[in-house]
């Protein structure tokens, strides 16, 4: 498998290509970068001790974790590596950031706020706080997915210890004006938590300049292994753990560290940082062309912001057809993997709360399709993808009574 060699061209190494697939669902899961795998396997040979053990094997494991911490800190320009704690993934980071911060600071007030398009792990963590007597303010977004600044301004008070707004949305690609929003949060409330799962490694993030107090990162959304995430905590921000035990990760996340995934996450963050600019420009070109071509389909609409959007993200809706059918047809007839926010594809059988939040009616939200690009994609795939989308929409509309 020569095309899996780490030094092969960036567009060549993804396993999917050798199988004739065109994988356009990088927001759901990404392959582990072979360079990351190489790094992890070679480093784990010596570092398999428990990082909490004081003997040499333990110390070696501790050293490789600290190395990973430093790499993650650099990706987001954290003040220092001690600002980063490792978790099992973005869901845990979001839970810890929200519940840990709100409960630790409830002496300052019992209000929390979140945008209407947050990930479900953010919204459900916020809802859980209602049981502890908190009030929850949901901040609406406009039709492009941008947080309503006026309402944010109205909702926040000095009784609001925590506000959560994502850096960019994984379903519609919209990038939030975090720097501006953090100004308002700090003027009126206390801490700003930002879920950067979709944005990290895609666009530059500087937690210091952006004014972020807590920031969620996910390993697998950066070509790292699944099972690791991180939470940036600004120096001085107080929170309490939600997992109790041996006191690992500054006492904020007990449990023996997932060495394999953490090492991978560190190396993945390092590679994302060094290749971000070039790769994002490459993907942006493919994205723009895809959007241009797909919008030629009759009654096709872009969802999310036309320009303030993630460089690898193209999302649409088509009237009179349903998203799961689009996904199935693209997969079965063209070997192209896409995503949808349709109700039928969700566990709850509800259409995506993000699509409803940008003002789509239920029947409109059912016909969504999300394309998220990655290293395996190249500009040569565009004619195939656009033809597949066009034919899929035509076929399903041919069956539809609407």
């Amino acid at each position: 498998m020569n095309d899996l060699a780490p030094d092969a061209g960036a567009a060549m190494w993804f396993w999917g290509q050798s199988m004739g697939k065109i994988y356009l669902d990088h927001a759901s899961s990404m392959p582990v970068d072979p360079r990351v795998l190489d790094f992890v396997t070679s480093n784990l040979k010596s570092g398999f001790g428990n990082p909490s053990s004081l003997h040499s094997m333990g110390l070696e494991a501790k050293r490789v974790i600290e190395d990973a911490r430093e790499k993650v800190a650099r990706l987001i320009n954290a003040e220092n590596e001690d600002c980063i704690i490792f978790t099992s993934g973005a869901t845990e980071s979001n839970n810890l950031a929200i519940k840990g911060t709100a409960l630790r600071n409830m002496g300052k007030g019992k209000k929390v706020a979140a945008s209407a398009i947050e990930h479900i792990s953010v919204l459900n963590s916020m809802k859980e706080l209602l049981k502890s007597g908190f009030e929850l303010g949901i901040i609406p977004v406009d039709s492009t997915g941008v947080v309503d600044i006026e309402i944010l301004n109205d909702v926040l008070t000095e009784d609001t210890p925590l506000t959560s707004i994502m850096y960019a949305n994984n379903e519609i690609g919209t990038i939030e004006p975090i720097r501006e929003l953090s100004g308002i949060v700090h003027e009126k409330g206390l801490y700003l938590h930002v879920d950067a799962t979709a944005a990290a490694g895609r666009i530059p993030i500087d937690v210091q300049k952006d004014g972020i107090d807590l920031l969620t990162l996910s390993s697998n959304d950066m070509y790292g292994p699944q099972g690791a995430g991180a939470l940036y905590i600004k120096p001085g921000v107080k929170l309490q753990p939600i997992l109790l035990g041996g006191g690992q990760e500054r006492g904020l996340r007990s449990g023996t560290e997932n060495l394999f995934a953490i090492l991978g996450m560190g190396e993945a963050a390092k590679i994302m940082k060094s290749e971000m600019k070039q790769e994002s420009e490459r993907l942006k070109e493919i994205r723009d062309k895809l959007i241009e071509e797909i919008l030629k389909v009759e009654e096709a609409y872009l969802t999310g912001h036309p320009s303030q959007r993630l460089p690898h993200h193209a999302s649409f809706r088509f009237s009179r057809i349903e998203g799961e059918s689009i996904l199935l047809n693209m997969d079965m007839k063209y070997n192209i993997q896409v995503s949808t926010g349709s109700a039928c594809s969700s566990k709850t059988l509800e259409p995506s709360h993000v699509l409803l939040a940008i003002g789509l009616k239920h029947e409109e939200a059912h016909g969504s399709m999300v394309l998220t690009l990655g290293r395996s994609n190249n500009i040569g795939e565009i004619p195939l993808v656009t033809r597949a989308v066009k034919e899929t929409v035509e076929r399903l509309r041919g069956i539809s009574p609407l």
């Binding site: 009179r320 057809i321 349903e322 998203g323 799961e324 059918s325 199935l328 047809n329 079965m332 007839k333 349709s342 109700a343 039928c344 594809s345 566990k347 059988l349 259409p351 009616k361 239920h362 029947e363 059912h366 041919g398 069956i399 539809s400 009574p401 609407l402």
Partner: protein, 132 residues
Amino acid sequence: MAQIGYSEKVLDHFTNPRNVGIIEAPDGYGKVGNPVCGDLMEIFIKVKDDIITDIKFRTFGCGSAIATSSMVTEMAKGIHVDEALKITRNDVADELEGLPPKKMHCSNLASDALHEAIKDYKGKTEDQGKNK
């Protein structure tokens, strides 16, 4: 074991649905579902001597909505309307070698649409009987 994805047969009926289209001046017409819920299907039947001689469907919906519509048209074609009325949601799912559990309720509406079409046919023939 719980079914995770779609069976081969569901995928076959989704990819190559049978009897898609409309029948002009049908003897019976049934429509169930709602685009707001994500599923809408309509069935047209042509009936001679109480036998369903032709049947067509159009569906807006997910993979199982399209596959169950296609399957129910195959099951009903050529049989007596009273036999067709006995086709249940479970029968359609069984013929498709099963559906994922959550799809059993939400998008398995095809037999309902068929029953509506037959009721429509029966209503019309009764009316004609009265007019005679």
